[in-house]
């Protein structure tokens, strides 16, 4: 197979005379791997669900924090009435035991919270990581030494423990913003390393030297010549970062240091439902399945993107 994808990714628009553009490669990959097609659909659906959460949730007729005592049985410890956790025309995915809150509304709102945090944290990680990586790789010398030490240091932090500790110490702040920041802080060295390596190999390519000789400023060279060259691996790496971010957010919320109730997030819903896994399995399964599907879909999509965009990855 041809290896022109990075070249095409580098100039961003027109495909070279021979070989295929990233878009053509992407379409071919989609045709070849049905699993990728399915996961792309799942990702699109999830993002749509998150974006339209307030309206989509309202379709079910319940707000995520609204109690419905008529849907649970007070004599059975608040078990949902009806089979499968109260699934029916009134509550599409059933209700929570005891409170009777609508699970459809909560899962949809939870999708918004979970994906918002995951995407925002990924954005922080990618922007910081790319900037640090390019700076370290292009300027070299002392800049590189300092940034590389900082990367090593950040990677030596026990990140989950630290995130938990930081989140538990800071009490009265906007949880979503705080979580995004805390998750973002520990993710950037991974991206920075990939970008640094790529920049090192681009630094003395002819076209970069030509730009330098032509009198371009460092800023112009970095943004116009180097940045497009590192885009391919960064896009692939970004997609593979998202599932990790989703699971981290879920794990933190599961441990009770994440999003505060009554705002729902998937991890927190699973934490609340663990106690009911035997008496009301649907309550436990529904948020778990959503979490599982989104992590799986983003991983598969990221794998495919890496095969297409990363020059070293997979393609032989």
């Amino acid at each position: 197979m041809t290896t022109t994808a990075p070249a095409a990714a580098r100039d961003g628009s027109a495909a070279p005379a021979t070989g295929s553009s990233p878009w053509q490669l992407a379409r071919r990959e989609l045709r070849r791997r049905p699993a990728v097609r399915v996961s792309l659909c799942v990702v699109v659906l999830l993002v749509l669900m998150a974006v339209t959460a307030p309206w989509l949730g309202a379709l079910g007729g319940w707000s995520p924090e609204e109690y419905d005592k008529s849907a649970v049985d007070p004599y059975l410890g608040g078990q949902p009435l009806g089979s499968f956790g109260g699934i029916g025309p009134e509550h599409w995915l059933g209700v929570e035991p005891v409170t009777g809150r609508d699970l459809f509304a909560r899962v949809v709102t939870g999708a918004q919270v979970s994906l918002l945090i995951a995407f925002a944290a990924t954005a922080i990680v990618v922007v910081t990581g790319t900037a640090a990586g390019i700076a370290a790789g292009y300027f070299g010398g002392r800049t590189d030494a300092v940034l590389s030490r900082l990367m090593d240091l950040t990677m030596s932090f026990p990140s989950l423990i630290f995130m938990i500790a930081m989140l538990s110490v800071a009490k009265d702040v906007n949880r979503i913003v705080l979580m995004t920041a805390v998750i973002g802080v520990f993710g950037w060295p991974g991206v920075a390393r990939v970008v640094r390596g790529q920049t090192l190999s681009l630094r003395h390519r002819e076209y970069v030297d030509a730009a330098r000789v032509g009198g371009s400023s460092s800023w112009r060279i970095l943004t116009r010549d180097v940045l497009p060259g590192v885009c391919g691996p960064v896009i692939a790496y970004t997609t593979l970062l998202i599932p990790g971010m989703i699971s981290t957010e879920a794990a933190l919320s599961y441990l009770g240091v994440g999003v505060r109730p009554p705002t729902p997030s998937w991890g927190q819903m699973i934490a609340e439902s663990v106690a009911y896994y035997e008496t009301d399995p649907m309550y436990f399964l529904i948020p778990s399945v959503f979490l599982f599907l989104s992590v799986l879909a983003f991983t598969l999509l990221g794998d495919a993107l890496r095969d297409i965009l990363d020059p070293r990855g997979g393609r032989t």
Partner: protein, 328 residues
């Protein structure tokens, strides 16, 4: 080699110092009041000032940090006057919750966490490398695809989901194993293993997937190298070619992530330990978090960082053993 080791040890000390400083800053500078936490909910202003003085919180920040560091290396006297307590080396302070030295609490829990982490690591290495190597040798066959799809799926399952499902399926429905309670290895090795089997499996499923993917990739790369062809041409049995020539060179990237994972897990299996009710460091951490027992939280954080840094160093030294091309 000795020079390299000395340089690495120096860097290690630097990293730990930086981590200690950051940890310290988080707990003593961010808007949280350790004195209020230590004093409890019903605390008068007068009493609070006493507690603050007793904990040394009225001192300038650099002084507190210096005291904290001195405590770790030589031990220190906490408090003053008749309430003074001698905190021996390595002093990480006393728990607000039960007034026990944090170091003793950590060392009490360490065997549990170590058993969990090491057992799980063995299991995930066997599962992960087995699946990865099998898939690589049968590249592009149905076996390969099935194994890799299984690996991605297993890695996407949150560990709390797998744990609950294992408890439900194996313990509640099938009744095959007892509900995990920790038993010391020295007393009853078999009981130790059967009790930890489920937590090991839950963790191993999560990690094995990553190792399967990674080892498949490096195995495919390694098996395409010319020295594999040479080894085959010499008439070596295929098993020796795969294990000694292929796997050995494909191990380097795996060793890197293995060091990080194992180091991170020694004090970081918070979720697994909580679900299975194992009294390890992760659960100590979680409990301390719930009761805002900051000395314990700080101690666990430092210990976790220590494990990660040491594991990374060990991995770098092991490179030279696995890969003869590496020299220091």
């Amino acid at each position: 080699m000795i020079l390299y080791l000395a340089r690495r040890l120096l860097a290690l000390a630097g990293v730990l110092l930086a981590i200690a400083a950051v940890t310290f800053l988080i707990f003593y500078v961010l808007p949280s009041d350790p004195a209020a936490a230590a004093c409890g909910k019903t605390c008068s202003a007068e009493r609070l000032a006493d507690v603050r003085e007793y904990l040394g919180l009225d001192q300038p920040l650099w002084r507190q940090f210096a005291d904290f560091l001195t405590g770790i290396f030589t031990g220190r006297t906490l408090g003053s006057g008749q309430y003074a307590v001698q905190c021996d080396f390595p002093c990480l302070g006393y728990s607000y919750e039960n007034s026990l030295p944090v170091w003793d609490l950590l060392m009490d829990r360490l065997p549990v966490s170590a058993s969990l982490a090491v057992g799980a690591a063995v299991l995930w290495l066997v599962l992960g490398l087995g699946a990865g190597v099998t898939a690589a040798l049968r590249k592009d066959t149905l076996t390969d695809k099935a194994l890799m799809v299984g690996a991605v799926a297993a890695a996407s399952l949150p560990v709390y989901f797998t744990s609950v499902m294992l408890i439900y399926g194996v313990i509640r429905i099938a009744g095959l194993l007892p509900y995990p309670t920790y038993q010391a290895f020295s007393g009853d090795p078999l009981g130790w293993a059967t009790n930890l089997l489920l937590p090991w499996t839950a963790l191993a499923l999560l990690y094995a997937a990553m190792y399967a993917r990674q080892s498949r990739g490096s195995m495919i790369e390694a098996m395409a190298e010319p020295y594999i062809r040479t080894a085959r041409a010499k008439g070596m049995p295929e098993r020796v070619v795969v294990v000694k020539h292929g796997l050995r060179s494909g191990m380097t990237p795996i060793l890197t992530i293995f060091g990080m994972d194992l180091g991170g897990l020694l004090a970081g299996a918070v979720i697994t330990e909580s679900i299975f009710g194992l009294p390890g460091i992760g659960r100590l951490f979680y409990g301390a978090l719930v009761s805002s027992d900051q000395p314990v939280v700080l101690g666990v954080t430092l210990l976790a960082a220590f494990f990660i840094v040491v594991a990374n160093l060990a991995v770098d030294l092991l490179y030279a053993v696995i890969d003869p091309r590496v020299r220091y």
